[in-house]
Symmetry: C2
Subunit: 397 residues, 2 copies
């Protein structure tokens, strides 16, 4: 039988991370997750609220509805973004099945096969793969501890003809944890205006700031509707609900609504109504404060253990929020080799190649998640990682 997959999908492979999650043996300490901590989910409230909306509003909660999303939730998310974070909400907002769907709909609506998409190098695999699945050429821009290097972005914009959009996670980036400075945010927006390209600002982690002081999203400076802003409740409420959103100019959001209509008609209604009710009645701010404190304690512990256990030639970030620390091995030491050794030592991290727009096997980075493991797992796992690094460097350097 002819087994012909479409050209744009034929090279696509399952996400290395998700496959790893499936294979991880129970005795392996895993730092591979991209998950928030399940201990922090407001399960009791969600159980109560969800039962209530299904029981008392079945004709709304269980029936088909409009593709844009549950109307009261759209208004509440706009009010939340505007009042708490001064994000301009004069554009349109669509509720999506997680921010992942906001990214995928953007890709579907903007990318022609062969178009360039400029991303951070490294960047979030789920977004990179969404862009690839529409035939984009990914052009990774250099990053440092302050996020995207703006000169690198301009170099790319100068030389590339068909740039579909720029993709960035400016705050507590995945995978590096880096935060783009305000100065760079301003300059990135100026560049986008100068070269007339859209910016997809992916902002899943910005509320998880350990200092409690939120870095304003680029969207707060957007006066002309050039920034498509993707957000989610996956990290502040719970990812299993799959409720995210995109906020942007009407010409683009209205096309994303059409794309979503053929994709899943609309997002799960009990979940949209539960998030709506959470925004109305629950102390989400207090809950987010708890998350910040819990993740800060784990970040502190992991960073302290890394200081103690890692060879000083290994560099790593000290993110002020989010879920990840990024390590980098010395010149000539691709992290794939380290991951193989770590596997033997029963500890798992994600190799940087996964996040590399060019998928280079020579990538020297690796990502560690600190939100999911317990304190004990952090202490033991970082010790095992340190030993793995020693073994690897002894081989290579």
């Amino acid at each position: 039988m002819r087994q012909r997959i479409s050209d744009h999908m034929s090279a696509m492979k399952p996400s290395a991370i998700r496959e790893m999650l499936k294979l991880a043996a129970p005795d392996v300490i895993s730092f591979t997750a991209g998950n928030p901590s399940a201990d922090l989910f407001p399960a009791e409230e969600l159980a109560r609220i969800t039962a209530d909306v299904i029981m008392n509003m079945p004709a709304r909660a269980l029936q088909y509805s409009v593709t844009e999303g549950y109307a009261p939730l759209i208004e509440k998310v706009k009010a939340y973004l505007s009042s708490k974070y001064s994000i301009p909400t004069d554009g349109e907002l669509i509720i999506t099945s997680g921010a992942q769907q906001a990214i995928e709909l953007t890709a579907k609506c903007l990318i022609n096969p062969g178009d360039a998409v400029i991303t951070e190098n490294p960047s979030f695999i789920g977004a990179l793969n969404a862009f690839r699945s529409y035939g984009a050429r990914l052009i990774g821009a250099e990053t440092d501890e302050n996020g995207m290097v703006i000169e690198a972005v301009e170099e790319i914009l100068k030389r590339e003809k068909n740039v579909s959009f720029i993709y960035t996670i400016p705050t507590f980036q995945n995978p590096t944890g880096a935060t783009m400075t305000m100065e760079r945010r301003r300059r990135l927006l100026e560049l986008a205006e100068k070269y007339d390209v859209i910016v997809l600002e992916d902002s899943p982690y910005f509320e998880l700031c350990f200092s409690g002081k939120v870095t304003p999203p680029i969207k707060t400076m957007d006066t002309e509707g050039r920034i498509l802003y993707a957000g989610t409740f996956s990290k502040t409420i719970a990812p299993g609900l799959r409720v995210g959103y995109a906020l942007g100019p009407k010409w683009l959001i209205s096309k994303m609504v059409v794309a979503k209509q053929v994709s899943d008609v609309h997002t799960n209604l009990p979940a949209m109504m539960a998030v709506d009710r959470i925004l109305e009645t629950y102390d989400l701010e207090g809950h987010i404060k708890q998350c910040r404190a819990a993740y800060k304690a784990k970040r502190d512990l992991m960073a302290a253990e890394m200081e103690k256990r890692f060879d000083p030639r290994v560099k790593f970030t000290r993110p002020e929020g989010g879920l990840f620390i990024w390590g980098e091995l010395p010149e000539g030491c691709p992290s794939l080799g380290l991951c193989a050794i770590a596997q033997k030592h029963k500890v798992a991290v994600v190799p940087g190649m996964t996040f590399d727009p060019a998928e280079s096997e020579l990538n020297r980075g690796f990502r560690l998640n600190f939100s999911v493991p317990t304190e004990e797992q952090i202490v033991n796992g970082i010790r095992l990682m340190g030993e793995s690094i020693d073994e690897y460097l002894a081989e290579r350097v």
Copy 2:
């Protein structure tokens, strides 16, 4: 600002039906829905079960999970299809966010721009638009009261070079309500084998058979994994949950998993777990029997009223299940004109052009939904439709 939409999405418009649903004035009797009746949703059970899974299994119900779907549900759906309907489940099964997503993932994985997709004429707008959104050329095959005319399908297969797949809703088709005979099902499968094409069998309504006797899906005859079978719990449990599935050969389902990974990571977990529990503990068979009886009563009433009120030159189907009756105006009377008059008379049906793969404005069909309106609305609405038809035919014939 440059507002460039990708080529494959640029011609896409919002679904006419969904836009109509939004605009419908409250005093209009609407037969436009594609919805099951909200009165029949097992709201109490769903409320209780959903609260239970969230409360007692938060680390499963609220966390990220694998893209394929909640593993116990995958097994239960396979067991359900196999034991109740003798559907071979040796392939792979993916849980999707409604059958709409099963259709969209199929399109993404199989269609190259310019490929032909053979569909029934008329066919489900949500599927047609999903195919269009990947640049497919839709080739509508003639249908009659026994479904797809097989000779018409073979003509197309002979003449078209790049056929991506054949799309059919063989039982209680949307929009016509027609059911393909067993003989034609056999011949369609033979044709697919002869011309080496995949068949996407979309089966949302087959359990809603008024006689209680289910017509076996084409998939029951599939020995070589040529049929991709799409199903849903939207019509038997509730559409707001967005839980459907696709069952097919491993080479295709595994690629659809990759496509879903970048689309929404996975389907809403509390909904998957609730459907799993419904299949385990709830009398779904008894519930479906209730749905059949309720819809049969409405179909009987609507058909009887149509007999009384419609000009005898208007033909219509008497479907043995599903949610829809299809009417057809005499030669030279496009249904768009009728819909405009009906609007004045405060009654709404969906014009056939919506379901026409070629979107011909000359299409003479129109779709009536009988599951949502009350008995009173059916009686009054059909009278208004009859008057609208009289007015229109007096103008045209």
